[in-house]
């Protein structure tokens, strides 16, 4: 049993094979893509492996503490696609092999021309919250 984050972002990953920006797809292709994501989430709930899936707005801002009694400082947004985090899925699976299998499947979501995106997903294991009871 292990939880993994499948993170869809564009920081340092090689370019996906089917590299057409989403706003250049046909509306039908966009719908198919979204449907694929939803279907996969439903299927993983059925296999008892789904934990969470979220999409993020493309633009956010930077925030930091600015000292006692002062409001936080904000900056941005800096809408640079190379830093975009599009969303994530969290799965709870038997082992890493299964996590890789599912990440591969998620990466096959259809894009332009209905062809698989082959986009790179980052797979990160969760740290467990509790230490084992047998130290």
């Amino acid at each position: 049993m292990a939880k993994y984050l499948l993170l869809k972002h564009y920081r340092g990953a090689p370019t996906p094979v089917n590299d057409v920006p989403m706003d250049d797809w046909t509306p039908h292709e966009v719908s198919d893509h979204i449907q694929f994501m939803n279907d996969l989430a439903v299927r993983l709930e059925g296999t008892g492996e789904f934990v969470d899936g979220q999409a993020l707005a493309p633009e956010g801002m930077w925030v930091r503490y600015d000292g006692e009694g002062r409001p936080p400082v904000t900056d941005g947004p800096f809408a640079e696609t190379k830093d975009l985090i599009a969303g994530w899925m969290i799965i709870d699976v038997e082992d890493q092999e299964r996590a890789v299998e599912l990440a591969g499947e998620l990466s096959s979501a259809p894009g332009a021309g209905g062809r698989p995106l082959h986009e790179w997903l980052e797979l990160r294991p969760f740290l467990e919250a509790a230490p084992p009871a047998d130290e």
Partner: protein
């Protein structure tokens, strides 16, 4: 009697069940004490209340198990047959299930936890857990009766549950102990006894293992007066019964190692030579690289850090906790710069948060002295 109540809760009873048990014990005291006043009234009450709690927990679990039978067959009379109980354990941890599914099904059908409780304990949505359990049921209901399952997988599943510790309201370690105790009563097998003893001996040390803020306390620094001596005594008795049968298994050996720790007043007084001997047995029985690594720690304590480092040499550096063990040995060998580096590496490779934080603090502690 809030102290008596607290003892029961500390041993793993939930609050309401502990209160009920203490009330029953007080009633019994009213009847028994006038004729035969005990020397230690509190001790008497703790013992009486704990017995009542265990009886209640067992009959409650048995009732739940009856209600949650996998098959819609009529109830076999009033009492659950011992063979039926064992059969349920074997089905729920059947080798045809993945460990994840077996854990979920065992907690639901044998342990009687609700799907929501199991989902909360494992931090997944209830719908996901419901599906996991229902698929597992589907798998084992297709298993024919001539594939009877195996006690080995049952024990492994219970140990997995035990090791999950607790997150949220459900104390999975206590739940695993309850399940192992019941299994022990229906199996008459030395490894069932060994597993139960192992769990009790680890559980006895739990109050000393973490600080109130959740940070880990290593064995050397634990306040041993916090160890639960009743649980230790219980574990040791059960272990002795198992060892007397002279059919050694991995759980009995691990319990024997835990018992040696529980028997010592400090790490300095621990019989490390005997600990190493038990690890030798364990490595023969399991051939597990993780046990080989644990053996190295014991060698380092028995024969000195140099001997520990020599024993570490042939092991695979990719093993979980390898860097942490190496750090500990190098520190004891006086090489603090190397130890600090290794603690930092061990922290990066830790798989749980309290361990990572502990190792980070160890690295920081050493670096301040450099």
């Amino acid at each position: 009697m809030p102290e008596v109540n607290a003892v029961l809760v500390r041993r793993g009873a939930d609050f309401a069940a502990a209160e009920d048990a203490v009330q029953d014990a007080l009633l019994a005291a009213l009847a028994a004490w006038p004729a035969d006043p005990p020397k230690d009234p509190k001790g008497w009450l703790v013992t009486a209340a704990w017995r009542r709690f265990l009886d209640a927990a067992r009959s409650d679990a048995a009732r739940k198990a009856r209600e949650l039978r996998l098959y819609d067959e009529p109830l076999p009379g009033l009492a659950v047959d011992l063979d039926d109980t064992l059969e349920l354990y074997l089905r729920c941890a059947h080798p045809s299930l993945t460990p994840t599914s077996a854990v979920a099904l065992t907690l639901r059908a044998v342990g009687g936890l609700t799907t929501r409780q199991i989902a909360e304990a494992y931090l997944v949505p209830e719908a996901t857990m419901a599906q996991r359990i229902s698929r597992a049921k589907g798998t084992v209901s297709g298993v024919s009766l001539d594939e009877p399952g195996s006690l080995e997988t049952v024990l492994r599943v219970l140990y997995l549950v035990f090791n999950e510790g607790y997150s949220g309201d459900i104390d999975l370690s206590s739940e695993a102990i309850r399940l192992a105790r019941r299994l022990h009563t229906v199996t008459d097998h030395e490894e069932s006894a060994g597993l139960l003893a192992l769990m009790l001996l680890h559980h006895a040390r739990r109050p000393a293992r973490t600080r109130p803020d959740g940070s880990l306390v290593p064995l050397t620094a634990q306040d041993r007066s916090l160890w639960d001596t009743d649980l230790v005594a219980d574990g040791v008795t059960i272990l002795q019964g198992a060892l007397a049968r002279e059919r050694l298994g991995e759980y009995q050996v691990q319990a024997a190692i835990a018992a040696l720790h529980c028997d010592a007043r400090s790490t300095a007084e621990t019989d490390w030579v005997q600990v190493v001997e038990w690890y030798d047995e364990l490595v023969v029985l399991t051939d597990s690289p993780v046990h080989r690594l644990n053996r190295v720690v014991a060698v380092g304590a028995a024969d000195g850090a140099r001997a520990g480092l020599a024993a570490l040499e042939p092991l695979d550096p990719e093993l979980p906790r390898y860097a942490a063990v190496a750090a500990h040995l190098h520190e004891n060998d006086g090489d603090r710069p190397r130890a600090a580096e290794l603690y930092a590496e061990a922290a990066r490779r830790a798989t749980n948060v309290p361990e990572r934080d502990h190792l980070t603090r160890e690295a920081a502690r050493l670096r301040r002295t450099l």
